[in-house]
């Protein structure tokens, strides 16, 4: 388990970015942007998670194996959300009688 040591400066920069993004997302939520409120909030959350994963969790300098596992985790999460939504959102699109009717 040998890694190159990351300078404190980089950790501090990531930390400041995370705090700044938290303030930004909290302030933006006060403004009514309609549907975009959700998109902005989730985008900022994804950016923050990426910063933590890449730098605090050292994935940026890790082996391809580690990267594959991380990607697999989030790919699984994407499958879950996309498939669940493709079911729930498309219900009632087709004028088909319910099978019990």
């Amino acid at each position: 388990m040998k890694h190159t040591v990351i300078p404190v400066r980089l950790y501090a920069l990531v930390f400041l970015a995370l705090i700044a993004l938290t303030i930004v997302t909290t302030e933006i939520s006060r403004i009514d942007l309609g549907e975009y409120n959700f998109i902005v909030a989730i985008t900022i959350a994804v950016i923050k998670a990426m910063l933590v994963i890449l730098f605090f969790m050292h994935v940026k300098q890790s082996s391809s194996m580690t990267k594959l596992f991380v990607a697999a985790g989030f790919f699984w999460m994407a499958i879950l959300i996309v498939f669940v939504l493709s079911d729930y959102l498309s219900r009632g699109w087709l004028p088909v009688n319910k099978w019990w009717q």
Partner: protein, 191 residues
């Protein structure tokens, strides 16, 4: 360790999936509940957790360099910040108790048409933040073990695997909160 974190993604993923489904079914009710969330406390707690992730990252760095004193110092700082987070969470839970926002026979909700649907959201709120808080409690226990091990000179620049692993775990718990905060507190604030 990453395989364990993958199982954790699946575990929390189930709850996020449930949240997605109910949010789509009852968008109005879910948006209305964010008025009753304490955004200030939520934002402060996000900051506290990010600080604790920062000190944890520095603790791992100190371990890499074999600096024992700095390692113990940063681990203690992380533990304290973790306890602050749990303390603030307890204050929030108490607020929900006072406002009768805990699902069950005592549940009251200002917007009557959303009575049942809002209960689902508060159930998800307690399930998700509760599981997250439980992970924090486990993390605090792990940190205490690390501090004890570090003070007994168990780690060196050559071997510090437990520090690194528990560091990963701590950051993972931080990431879960990074997603919980906008989903539960921020979305629908203006509605």
């Amino acid at each position: 360790m990453w395989v364990f974190l993958l199982t954790e993604i699946m575990f929390f993923g189930g709850m996020f999936g449930g949240y997605t489904v109910y949010r789509n079914m009852y968008p109005g009710a879910f948006a209305s509940t964010s008025h009753f969330m304490n955004v200030t406390l939520g934002a402060v707690n996000t900051g506290v957790l990010i600080c604790s992730s920062f000190t944890m990252a520095l603790a791992v760095r100190s371990a890499q360099l074999g600096r024992k004193r700095a390692l113990i110092l940063f681990l203690v700082a992380t533990l304290i910040l973790g306890c602050v987070f749990l303390g603030v969470k307890a204050v929030e839970y108490h607020e929900k108790w006072v406002d009768h926002h805990i699902p069950g026979p005592e549940f009251h909700y200002a917007e009557a048409p959303y009575f049942h649907q809002a209960q689902i959201l508060f159930f998800l709120y307690f399930a998700m933040t509760g599981m997250h808080a439980l992970h924090m409690v486990v993390g605090a226990g792990l940190l205490t073990t690390l501090i004890a091990m570090a003070s007994r000179d168990r780690f060196s620049a050559e071997w510090y695997t437990p520090v690194e692993m528990i560091g990963l775990y701590w950051h993972f718990v931080d990431i879960v909160w990074i997603f919980l905060f906008p989903l539960l507190y921020l979305i629908g604030r203006t509605k």
